[in-house]
């Protein structure tokens, strides 16, 4: 576990957002803490309890037992204390359950839910108005927020005249304009089409890092952000830490990359199903922390020099015993791997192994020296363990290759299969 994760679990929960809830009918009993300025991704399948925790935090749902604290203020404390499980109850004497509008917790949902009878500007001005600002002051504030999400030109439109991506960007501005003390994001990209999703993800990356830097005049600095998602890419792009929920319980918790690339729980492994190499984006791929330079396709919104993650599915990986000839027409990555596990998975075999640090033997031959430039150091306290990669191959080829733990092989993956995404830190 990294120092960051260790620190947050040790730190007293007097700062940031604490959500602990037990809801018996949904089989949920879980606790999440988000430090000020931190973005925590809540990962899990449908019905794992993600939305339940958000509902409890926002005040939409009253749990059987639970506690919600924001910067030391108790927003919710119900149920008797001293019970079993991960959930501290409220004090015995007086249950607390602040209504949603007194919590300062804004919620951005899957659908933008812009008020259809108000213009874009008045939608964004809704929060400031509700907080008691004059119509004029609220509209001024809304105009500033629209400028920050580059939608000033749509201020007079009705929500019905916006595309899905534009509407969700307005919803982002509306949530932030309310100056929340904590922000809840409930799968904000899930309902968007493939072109709009990256747009909104990029916007969230920007505004969340601005909030983290304490930017924004008059903005309460560093609100904690809880992001519910089932898409590992959202977690990579936006979150510092991932919390994995399965059947209502926290099964894993840690820095996003660790959780996704080296899942300790079977559930997180199933969720991720992706190979991840962390490093720094280059013009044509990624310079991995662990050594290899990987050719790949840069995601829009990711440029050379950014902290990034190369992502490719295990099914895209071919395994060779000998170093394969470098293809001229399609650039391929060949990575030396020490096999650690061979597991049958239905008709396929999943081969896992750790990358062997041998940058000299990496193809394709990159023109630049492989080790120039500052290499992004991994999370503090995390030993620079070799990344683990997985490959799915047919049982027949696994037999041909005679793979056993300890085999030294080459993992080959086409550059076109490798997506390089901007990652947080």
């Amino acid at each position: 576990m990294s120092a960051r994760a260790a620190q947050s679990s040790v730190a007293a929960h007097d700062r940031g957002l604490l959500v602990a809830a037990e809801v018996q009918v949904r089989g949920v009993s879980a606790q999440v803490h988000v430090a000020p300025g931190e973005v925590v991704a809540l990962l899990g399948a449908n019905g794992a309890g993600k939305s339940t925790l958000l509902g409890v935090a926002a005040g939409m749902l009253r749990p059987d037992r639970g506690r919600v604290e924001l910067d030391g203020e108790v927003l919710l404390a119900v149920g008797s204390s001293g019970g079993s499980g991960a959930v501290p109850g409220g004090p015995m004497n007086r249950p607390v359950d602040l209504p949603p509008h007194r919590r300062g917790v804004a919620l951005l949902a899957q659908e933008p839910l812009l008020f259809p009878h108000l213009s874009v500007l008045d939608n964004v001005a809704f929060g400031p108005r509700a907080a008691g600002a004059s119509r004029r002051a609220a509209r001024d504030a809304a105009a500033r927020w629209l400028e920050r999400v580059d939608l000033t030109h749509l201020a007079d439109r009705r929500p019905g005249q916006l595309s899905g991506g534009q509407a969700q960007r307005v919803a982002v501005a509306r949530a932030l304009a309310a100056q929340p003390r904590a922000l809840l994001l409930d799968e904000p990209m899930a309902a968007l089409d493939v072109t709009a999703a990256p747009e909104v993800r990029q916007l969230l990356r920007r505004v969340l890092s601005e909030a983290q830097d304490g930017a924004g005049p008059g903005q309460p600095p560093q609100p904690p952000v809880l992001l519910v998602t089932h898409d590992p890419l959202d977690a990579l792009a936006l979150a510092d830490r991932a919390v994995v929920l399965d059947a209502g319980h926290v099964v894993e918790e840690g820095p996003v990359r660790e959780v996704l690339s080296q899942p300790r729980s079977a559930f997180a492994a199933r969720l991720a199903e992706l190979n991840l190499l962390a490093g720094t984006a280059a013009a044509d791929g990624l310079r991995a922390e662990s050594g290899p330079t990987v050719a790949g396709v840069l995601d829009p919104g990711c440029s050379a020099g950014d902290a990034a993650v190369a992502v490719f599915p295990p099914a895209a990986v071919a395994i060779h015993r000998e170093h394969p000839a470098t293809g001229v027409s399609s650039p391929r990555n060949t990575i030396p791997v020490l096999v650690s596990a061979v597991e049958p998975r239905g008709a396929l075999v999943r081969v896992r192994g750790s990358v062997e640090a041998d940058p000299a033997s990496i193809s394709p031959g990159n023109s630049g020296p492989g080790d120039s430039g500052p290499v992004d150091s991994g999370p503090v306290g995390h030993p620079a363990a070799a990344p683990v990669l997985a490959a799915d191959i047919t049982a027949a080829s696994a037999a041909d290759l005679d793979l056993v733990p300890g085999s030294r092989v080459w993992f080959a993956v086409k550059a076109a299969e490798v997506a390089v995404h901007a990652a947080r830190r």
Partner: protein, 270 residues
């Protein structure tokens, strides 16, 4: 023109059996013919004089005033009632919802009797009101009460349907943006159900305007005090049928306008 032509050509085949059209036409005629009969029977030469006679004008004025008052009462009490029925859950809610709709199906005369034994001299509340010097039965206030009693279910039904159809998601978002329940009601809930509220209000007004049975039973028929337009029509039918027909036409026109207004809104998509 081109557009409407395209729409027509793109219309779906109805797929109805041929024999269904004859009874359908008969049904339509059954509704339309009586309206035509009234129009045909109108003595157009005497029409202005008939509808502007003292008795007619008094009835018309009284009807407009009482129907407006009862619509206001319906809004004042019916809107909160619809909100509670649509948004709350407590034991007995289903029973309450059924009871609130009873005046919709109750014979109006029975409603008048019920009101008489509530607000009348010997009624449930009447005796207490008597002590305060308030005598309600057979007054203009009684007309308003009778109208509101039969009309409120229309408003509640219409508004509750609109509220349920809208769901609570916008209201939840508004709350997380810091809006108190009062602000949410004013700036989100009511604007979103405005079409349903408007059509409910128009229906309640129309029902108030046409009220007869409960009014006659509970308020009587005193010219200028409790004799509304429908009561005047009924009375004139016995003395001067031409006057009854002329006033009937006025009420038919009001009814048609109400239907056009509410249906028009509904097809625009509530």
């Amino acid at each position: 023109m081109l557009r409407s032509g395209q729409q027509r050509s793109a219309q779906q085949r109805a797929g109805l059996p041929g024999w269904a059209f004859a009874p359908a036409a008969l049904g339509a005629a059954f509704v339309v013919l009586p309206l035509v009969a009234v129009v045909v029977k109108v003595d157009w030469a005497a029409f202005p004089a008939l509808v502007t006679s003292d008795a007619s004008l008094a009835a018309l004025r009284l009807s407009l005033v009482t129907a407006s008052c009862s619509t206001a009462v319906c809004l004042l009490l019916g809107v909160p009632l619809a909100l509670v029925l649509a948004r709350c859950s407590f034991p007995g809610l289903r029973l309450l919802r059924s009871l609130v709709l009873v005046p919709l199906v109750l014979p109006p005369v029975v409603g008048g009797i019920a009101l008489l034994y509530t607000f009348g001299r010997q009624g449930l509340l009447g005796s207490s009101l008597e002590v305060l010097g308030l005598r309600i039965a057979f007054s203009t206030a009684a007309v308003v009460i009778a109208q509101a009693f039969v009309a409120m279910p229309f408003l509640v039904l219409s508004l509750e349907g609109a509220l349920r159809g809208r769901g609570t998601r916008y209201e939840q978002v508004a709350a997380t943006l810091g809006a108190s329940p009062s602000i949410v009601l004013r700036r989100v809930t009511l604007p979103l159900v405005l079409p349903g509220l408007a059509s409910g209000t128009v229906l309640a007004f129309a029902r108030s305007l046409g009220e007869f049975g409960a009014t006659l039973t509970f308020a009587g028929s005193l010219q200028g005090v409790t004799r509304t337009l429908p009561l005047e029509v009924y009375l004139q039918r016995e003395s001067d049928a031409r006057g009854a027909v002329a006033l009937s036409l006025v009420l038919v026109v009001v009814a048609v306008v109400v239907i056009v207004v509410t249906r028009g809104r509904r097809t625009e998509g509530v």
